[in-house]
């Protein structure tokens, strides 16, 4: 059965203090790994898709990387507006089209 585990559950950073969020996954065959950002009471906002180990994607202060067992979301010099819950999801070839989500990491960036 596909499993997605995100750590830490919560993270508090000072503005400008870089860090990484982890997403560990177990799937029989990875079709894609997806990162989303979710603000309270809102729907998830798509950030990145990674398809194969070694792939990297960047957007502003965010950089996502992928290995065969985990993905990292690196946040460089975060700002308070980066505060949100970051969700990781996997899609497996033998699981159809469903996204299997982790519980998310709640990030708070203080000024």
């Amino acid at each position: 059965e596909d499993q997605v585990t995100q750590s830490p559950e919560a993270l508090r950073l000072q503005e400008g203090e870089s860090s990484s969020l982890n997403c560990s996954y177990t799937v029989s065959g990875l079709r894609g790994l997806f990162w989303y950002r979710q603000d309270p009471g809102k729907g998830p906002e798509f950030l990145f898709t990674l398809y194969s180990a070694g792939e990297e994607k960047e957007k502003e202060r965010l950089k996502a990387t992928l290995t065969k067992k985990e993905s990292f979301l690196h946040i460089t010099a975060p700002k308070p507006e980066d505060s949100a819950t970051y969700l990781c999801a996997v899609q497996a070839w033998d699981s159809g089209y469903a996204l299997n989500f982790g519980k998310g990491t709640s990030l708070l960036v203080t000024p």
Binding site: G43, L99, K103
Partner: protein, 114 residues
């Protein structure tokens, strides 16, 4: 470019009642998926509709049903509501062709069952 829209925004129902939630996909998308998100949890897959048929279903009881219309919009119906059905219901749209599997989410409908 219109994104995914959902209605209503909020809904309060009584246990045992029935509810219908609506979703319009992002322009150009032909596939709609529904997810349930409990507080503090990641979204859970309910089902996906493509070409007006249920293409895949998650681990949800038959009380949850859906429909897709010829214009690709979709409805989620939940019968015999339970207190545990209180959650944020998310609709996500995607394009089945083109090799990209990204799903784009709407703002959600917050359902409260009392």
């Amino acid at each position: 470019d219109a994104g995914v829209t959902q209605s209503p925004t909020h809904l309060i129902k009584t246990r045992g009642q029935q509810v219908t939630l609506r979703c319009s996909p992002k322009s150009g998308h032909d596939t709609v998926s529904w997810y349930q998100q409990a507080l503090g949890q990641g979204p859970q897959f309910i089902f996906q509709y493509y070409e007006e048929e249920e293409r895949q279903r998650g681990n949800f009881p038959d009380r949850f049903s859906g429909h897709q219309f010829p214009n690709y919009s979709s409805e989620l119906n939940v019968n015999a509501l339970l207190l545990g059905d209180s959650a944020l219901y998310l609709c996500a749209s995607s394009l089945s062709s083109g090799g990209s599997y990204e799903q784009y989410f709407g703002p959600g409908t917050r359902l409260t069952v009392t």
